[in-house]
Symmetry: C2
Amino acid sequence: MKRISDYAVMVEEALRGLELAQMKPESLYAPVAYAMEAGGKRLRPALTLMTAEAFGVDNSVAMPAALALELFHNFTLLHDDVMDNSDVRRNRPTVVKRFGADAAILSGDAMLGLAEAQLLALDDKCYRRVAEVFVRMARDVYAGQALDMEFESRNDVTVEEYVEMIRLKTGALLGACVEIGGLLAGVDAKVASKLREYGENLGISFQIEDDWLDTFGDATTFGKPIGGDINNNKKTFLLISGLTAGGEESKALEVAMQLPAGDTKVRAVTRIYEKMQLDEKVHKEALRYSAKAMKAAKATGLSDAKLEGFKYVVDRLSGRKK
Amino acid sequence: MKRISDYAVMVEEALRGLELAQMKPESLYAPVAYAMEAGGKRLRPALTLMTAEAFGVDNSVAMPAALALELFHNFTLLHDDVMDNSDVRRNRPTVVKRFGADAAILSGDAMLGLAEAQLLALDDKCYRRVAEVFVRMARDVYAGQALDMEFESRNDVTVEEYVEMIRLKTGALLGACVEIGGLLAGVDAKVASKLREYGENLGISFQIEDDWLDTFGDATTFGKPIGGDINNNKKTFLLISGLTAGGEESKALEVAMQLPAGDTKVRAVTRIYEKMQLDEKVHKEALRYSAKAMKAAKATGLSDAKLEGFKYVVDRLSGRKK
């Protein structure tokens, strides 16, 4: 049986087949080619291929939709990098640094256009259902990004609001990747919604675990320095959970967050998180969403053998503690 | 019979019906509402309604597609204003000035999402054909914008390249507005392509005439100070025609364009254009594209009575000399 990484390899090859670097006008598509060459896990399109195959659809038939979702994902990264003025992504200068903000905006738009052009390869039977999911997903992702930006200047964000934000920002796309995989096979509305539920909860679990790893992970396996979120005052699941818990420790956390960025701040905040047992609680919360994801996957009626791939992805993405 | 402005009034009302200002999250949709409230001629969606009606489709049935095209148009303006860092549009601060670049980028994306959500209101019979035209059009518009930006730093742009750029940047959307109007009525591929041809040539004619008016128009009816393009060294149809004509006057034009911005420069360049008889030639060129537009419209087989509306638009947009 194929692993998620096997699907990712196929996606990589199909992306090369698009020959983005040859597209005209060059000033529009060179940044697109640059962004897509940077690699990445190709998790989203791999999920589409895996799901479609689980329901009997050939990888080659599912590939255009898979590519559309990967192009969409990278389009959002391009625009996010302009908004965040990010310097580096995947160990290379971002498109905005390399080509400038104008190119990043316009080439981002063009990537979305390319994504939608890929969807046009689908046959009439599923095109409309897939397009509906795609359009709704895109609007969810923008809403999630807007909420994320709103939260930066708010001090009263609740855990529920945070989860809704990451459901939109991270979960909606993963949900659409899995749902669209099923739609390519013509699954009914109930199965489609269970597939989406799997992907959404996978996304929420992944994001909470990511927040957890940023404070409690291992720098070598996490790939980023530990404590970055604390130093950047990022509203994470940990921080929001800590601030909204109430009591002495919430106040202490508020004070510790006022410290200047540095190891002292990271240590102080981490110690308060530990005192509040947030290290355990938040990790458990991630696992709770993983369990919800698998419950939804099982409700699709797929065989245990086919569910293995879905389980593997959940374990890899949100069981990253061990 | 309805005039194009009657359709525009209907569009305005339907836009109000969307209640954009009530959409959540507010930070995402307030800039969208602001941009759409600014008015404008609503020419594009009016063309869609007019064309659909000419082929027997009710305005109410055609409205979602018309709104999609108007939302798309305004989305491109939002992103263009970020790229140009424009201060004012339709006598108000631009979205980028009022809400910042981040909001303008993300809310622009959301406007495109809203546009595509409108298209989902179409029935199965025409949804796919309309979506195909929409996706191709969007990619054309981005290509046109990219070429326009490329041309800024090039000194060897030919008239042919310029026309292709405005066909993409201005013509493609007008073409899609008219073509989609026809597709809503289920016209065949031949008629659809003639409708697109009408809109594309209308767009080219309009843009050439706009370039002409910027130098030879009347400030009061044109609505902008005369000579702006000359002072901004904008690569217009006039300038490119003059520079690529060859001979003494082309060289004189090159020299005059080096002058510092001001009335002296505008007068000097205008005098050279007149010596080269570009005032007449370029205006004639605009009329030539208007004639192509009408020829295509006639080839759709619409009755003379129905063609009147199409003729009126051409005359109003590109016969603006008188």
